[in-house]
């Protein structure tokens, strides 16, 4: 039904797109503002170094910010790695095998998706603080050896909330999977292990990749759970930005956002290319 579309529908669609993109345009434009307070646009900055890109260059000198960026990437990469493996395993288990407690496992997997993030966040906070306090006092650890919240706790929490999404995506891919292809491999002398690496994995790879991408973006984007599970030295970009928002906002923040948006766009385009090539 592509024949005739009411002009009102087109106008409405354009208006919604405008609503979606106007804030992003504002963010990018203000990254070139010459005003440090960055409330009113006072013309394009042109200062040494870097001229119009002054604020972008200023970012590089911001050590706090650079370490936040590094933390964010470390957390996202590590948690994606583990949640992709664990999530794919779970998808295989649920789609392929019958085992006692299967229905129960499926129900449990949905929990991270339906409970509010903040509840998950404080739950993990309560768990680790109780656990760490117990360990620290039981073994009367010296102050520098005490367990605290940090990168480790954030990574584990990110794995927990992203695993179910990986499982969902990989399962969808497994759903249409023709098992006889695996039987054919076994018939042609490939044992289970080789069948998995040579046939199963290559065929579900697009699903696994999509799951990994989803886990990665969920981790990059997460604020709430990180907020509750982070600790000294584990500030991520969203947490850092949140901290700034409540104090002062300079065009540096816009430059950071611009770079972020550009990176996301590039990553999405690469992902689309990969997907198209995989067919």
């Amino acid at each position: 039904m592509t024949k005739k579309r009411s002009p009102w529908l087109i106008i409405a669609a354009l208006a919604v797109y405008f609503f979606l993109y106007a804030p992003i345009v504002v963010l990018v434009v203000f990254a070139f503002n010459s005003s440090r307070t960055n409330v009113v646009f006072e013309g394009v900055v042109n200062r040494e170094p870097c001229g119009p890109f002054y604020w972008f260059c200023a970012l590089a000198g911001n050590r706090e910010l650079m370490s936040a960026a590094q933390n964010t990437l470390t957390i996202a990469l590590t948690s994606t790695f583990f949640s992709t493996i664990i999530g794919t395993m779970a998808a295989l288990a649920l789609q392929r095998y019958s085992f006692p407690g299967k229905t129960f496992s499926e129900a449990l997997l949905y929990i991270p998706i339906v409970i509010p993030e903040i509840v998950m966040g404080i739950g993990i906070l309560v768990l680790f603080s109780t656990l760490f306090r117990f360990i620290n006092t039981t073994f009367s650890l010296p102050p520098d050896a005490r367990l605290t919240m940090g990168l480790g706790t954030v990574i584990i929490s990110h794995i927990v909330f992203s695993v179910p999404f990986v499982t969902l995506v990989v399962r969808a891919r497994l759903h249409g999977f023709d098992k006889s292809v695996e039987e054919a491999a076994q018939d042609l002398y490939a044992d289970e292990w080789r069948t998995f690496w040579r046939v199963t994995l290559p065929l579900i790879a697009p699903g696994v990749l999509a799951g990994a991408l989803l886990a990665f973006t969920l981790s990059l984007d997460d604020f709430v759970i990180t907020f509750f599970t982070t600790g000294p030295g584990a500030t991520t970009l969203p947490i850092y930005v949140y901290g700034l928002l409540r104090r002062i906002t300079t065009p540096e923040l816009n430059a950071l956002s611009t770079i972020w948006i550009a990176l996301v766009l590039v990553a999405l385009l690469i992902a689309q290319r990969l997907e198209r090539r995989a067919g």
Binding site: D178, S180, V181, E183, A184, A185, Q186, D187, L188, Y189, A190, D191, R194, R198, V199, P202, L203
Partner: protein, 365 residues
Amino acid sequence: MPEYAVELRDVSKRFPGPSGEIVNAVKNVSLQIRDGEFFSLLGPSGCGKTTSLRMIAGFELPTEGEVYIHGRPMGQTPPYRRPVNTVFQNYALFPHMTIGENVAFGLEMKGVPKAEREKRVKEALEMVRLPGFEKRRPRQMSGGQQQRVALARALINHPEVLLLDEPLGALDLKLRKEMQLELKRLQREVGITFIYVTHDQEEALTMSDRIAVMSGGRVLQVGPAHEIYEKPNCKFVADFIGETNLLEGKVIHQHGRQVEVLLAGGLTAHAESDQSLVSGQQVFVAIRPEKMALRPYDGAHNVYVGRVEEVVYIGTDTHYTVRLAGGQRVRVREQNDDPFSRPLANSGDEVRVYFDQTPARVLTE
């Protein structure tokens, strides 16, 4: 003791069904398949033929009984250690590999060096008449071509037995006929035992040296095509293979192979049986439509009066539906050898139906 290519001894297979019940897919099946034979497992869907094949391949393990391949008991041997290869119903080509990689897969797993693999892939593709298709992808090929690739992929390994699971099911009629001949030719060429699963009786009859007819998880009859067709040993086989008129009756007496049967309406039928029957036993007389005639001939053992209910002209033959005096409805098939294909009778005509004793088989259930 003769060694068979494949032997099934008292094999049963039970599955847990979807709602917890137990499904008896295969019940006490014993089969002996000779070396170099083209052997078909024939039956309707759900008769256990595919499960039997899968137990030979090793995709399923028997609940009871044992599968032997050239005398070796297979036990728990996984599929990748069995000297058999399979051609799957949907071909099951690896979509992410080229045709060359697909065909070479088995050799690669066995550790055959690359140079030799390439040589043998080339030969195998030539054998199935797809020379030079190495670099193609499965999805760029037609169903018939994929079928040939699946054959090459299996045969390149020189299996002791080739298992084929309804391999022609997805092809259209014309291509199917072509592939039937092709398969037969390949089997003669390579001399490997073929075990062929099909629900298509015509396919089984044209291709096989021997056929096992299965139903409800059991093997009902094993034998060459003409034996299965001419001498079915039970009602199911008679009915499933070709078309049959079944006349219900009671045994009057038996004299050697010759049996006299009393049909409804006081008709008497002269038929044959290899079994020994007792007087008064409830039986069926099975007679093929083409073994019945409307044209009188000398020495017919059975002659009945009837009335034509329907005449269907189908080119080479004409089918007449006749209601006999005893109320039985039979189909009679007459060749149209008259130059003008004039019908022998019209609807409503009174006719006589003739048939001999030998093709009329007495069947108990």
